[in-house]
């Protein structure tokens, strides 16, 4: 069997029947293009929602509720888990504030790998900070500015206060942290806590009681971020197992995952029905083609074409239709995608409808596969064509 010759003959016959060929292409495109649009909408919508969740680190944050007693070693161990991207101890919230100008700012410990400070310089030591967007606005502070942070305490009914100069390394974008906040090295927060507990902070020259060096520091909480959205729920379950109540965005994540799952079910039901219809149409088309071309096929058999070659002739024509329909559908989908994204997308970078190159590849392979199988089933009747039966009439 000469595959190239059969493909060439099939193409010439396909071209001669241009109108019928166009009809089969349009019939297929009428199935494929809406399926691409449907899947594009499902994928675009879900991936935009997922991306939105993934790009917002707050979604991956796990916040311990109530007071706890955590050692730095335990929190370091948590940070080394494969499902945790960042963990750092927090000092007592009541002690974790600083007065900067007329504003009292919430202090948050930070370190390298902090997802909130992604791409920003990390403050180190006791004299560097990163301000939240709102805090910087209220203080009219910009990166590089030097600010005075004040820390007050009451000792025997007497109010005492210490000050230290800190440099603003960077300002967080608003979406990263929408409150008034100050991100600093854990050492500065520990210094504030020690001072408010009546202790001395020798590194800053603040007077007070001598703090015990042998007593291990205990932290009431931590800042912890899961590595991915899928890690949030398992971490919640882990902490629940440790009798530690935590607050997570697991519900929000589950809603998006549920939406994705439900949309997938709807898509595959529709796609299954549509593909079954397309399969039936292609099967009928192949049967009709064999009946219509019976005379030509019997002449080809007379000339010495085998049953396999005749079957290939019918299948290749179906593949031509499938290939052209797939390209046409991709073009139609492209137009629909442009229109839908223009209509519905408000955030740059997000998509209402979106397909990846691999989706086009899978669609092409699926269409070619279904067409080939349908044509093979329908075209199998060529095996019954005898050279003697049609050659009298051609």
């Amino acid at each position: 069997m000469r595959i190239a010759l059969v493909a060439s003959l099939a193409w010439q016959d396909y071209r001669r029947d241009a109108w019928l060929s166009a009809c089969s292409v349009l019939a297929l495109a009428a199935v494929i293009a809406p399926l691409l649009v449907l899947f594009g909408l499902k994928f675009g919508l879900v991936s935009s929602l997922t991306e939105r969740l993934e790009t917002d680190p707050a979604t991956r944050e796990i916040i311990p509720l109530g007071g706890g007693r955590f050692s730095s070693a335990l929190i370091e161990q948590l940070g080394q888990r494969s499902d945790v991207s960042f963990a750092i101890p927090r000092t007592r919230q009541i002690a974790a504030t600083a007065q900067v100008g007329a504003r009292v700012l919430e202090m948050l410990p930070t370190a390298a790998g902090d997802p909130l400070l992604d791409g920003l310089p990390i403050p180190k030591g006791l004299d560097q900070i990163v301000l939240s967007h709102t805090a910087a606005e209220r203080l009219a502070a910009r990166p590089g500015d030097l600010l005075e942070a004040r820390f007050a305490r009451q000792v025997a009914g007497r109010v005492e206060e210490q000050r230290t100069r800190v440099q603003v390394l960077a300002v967080l974008p608003l979406e990263a942290f929408p409150r008034d906040g100050l991100f600093a090295d854990l050492a500065l927060l520990e210094a504030a806590e020690d001072y408010r507990d009546g202790g001395a902070v020798p590194a800053l020259g603040w007077p007070g009681d001598e703090m015990s060096a042998v007593e291990q520091r205990v932290y009431p909480a931590f800042r912890l971020y899961a590595r991915s959205l899928a890690d949030v729920e398992p971490l919640r379950v882990y902490f629940a197992g440790q009798n530690l109540l935590v607050s997570t965005q697991a519900n929000t994540i589950a809603q998006v995952q549920s939406l994705s799952r439900n949309l997938s079910i709807v898509f595959w039901i529709i796609a299954g029905l549509a593909l079954a219809g397309a399969f039936a149409a292609m099967l009928a088309g192949a049967l009709a083609a064999v009946a219509r071309k019976r005379r030509e096929l019997s002449v080809l058999r007379l000339l010495g074409f085998s049953t396999a070659a005749l079957l290939l002739f019918v299948m290749v024509q179906a593949l031509y239709s499938a290939g052209i329909a797939a390209v046409l559908s991709a073009g139609l989908y492209g137009l629909a995608e442009t229109g839908l994204n223009r209509l519905f997308v408000q955030v740059p970078g997000e998509h209402a409808s979106h397909l990846l190159a691999r989706h086009y590849g899978v669609a092409l392979v699926a269409v070619l596969g279904v067409s080939a199988v349908a044509a093979a089933c329908g075209g199998w009747r060529v095996a019954r064509i005898q050279a003697s039966e049609g050659i009298r009439d051609v």
């Binding site: 010759l5 000339l303 010495g304 049953t307 050659i391």
Partner: protein
């Protein structure tokens, strides 16, 4: 090259039965013969048997190109029969049998392409010899009946087969064109030393072309059916 002995083919039953009996038929390379008889006597059935597209019911002997054709049919060796057809047979059909989706050049070249033969100029040469070289780019539908028959002759000869079969190749032609087409076909077959079996109801034309004639005679049997028998050359 071709040797048949006691080959039978029947269709239908009772009064609708039609049987063809070939007591003996032998052809050497380059030998030409005309099969004549009235319409419906079984000329086409005989050609289909020789073209290996119709299975005989009974075979005393059926050899073609040193192959036991009866055995191939019994073993349902369709691929082997198709290979023999494509390599060693050329068939001129009554109405041309051309493929409408190919132009004249494509139709003539097809048997060679199927065998993987290079174009050695034989397609153009045959078209020239058969007077259709100015029609090569046209589709069959744009040709006259006579031109189609010539294209069909060219296709049957293009791959230099050992046996050329022609089923009423001149039936639709006027006498002048009929003689031209018949002569062109026989001349080209002679050049290629191909054996030739021409089925025609036009015995005078066959004799005028110098062909030995073998008649198919029919008789009605007791069951009401018809038995046709291929006679000896006369």
């Amino acid at each position: 090259m071709l040797n048949l002995c006691a080959v039978h083919k029947s269709r239908g039953v009772g009064s609708q039965r039609y049987s063809l009996v070939i007591p003996a038929l032998a052809l050497r390379a380059g030998e030409q013969v005309a099969i004549v008889g009235p319409s419906g006597c079984g000329k086409s059935t005989l050609l289909d048997l020789l073209a290996l597209v119709l299975a005989p019911d009974q075979v005393g002997q059926f050899e073609f190109h040193q192959q036991d054709i009866g055995g191939l049919w019994r073993a349902d060796q369709q691929s082997a029969l198709a290979a023999l057809r494509s390599r060693h047979l050329g068939y001129v059909l009554q109405t041309g049998g051309l493929l409408g989706f190919l132009d004249v050049r494509g139709n003539i070249a097809l048997p060679r392409q199927l065998l993987g033969l290079e174009d050695d100029g034989s397609v153009a040469r045959l078209a020239e010899q058969l007077g259709i070289s100015d029609q090569m780019g046209k589709p069959p539908a744009a040709l006259s009946v006579g031109q189609r028959q010539r294209v069909s002759c060219a296709r049957a000869l293009a791959h230099a087969p050992q046996l050329v079969l022609a089923d009423e190749p001149t039936a639709s032609l006027d006498p002048l064109n009929a003689e031209r087409v018949m002569q062109a076909l026989l001349d080209r077959a002679r050049e290629q030393r191909a054996a030739c079996v021409i089925a025609t109801h036009d015995e005078p034309l066959a004799r005028a072309s110098g062909l030995p004639v073998r008649r198919i005679s029919c008789r009605r049997d007791a069951d009401g059916g018809v038995t046709a028998t291929l006679g000896e050359a006369c």
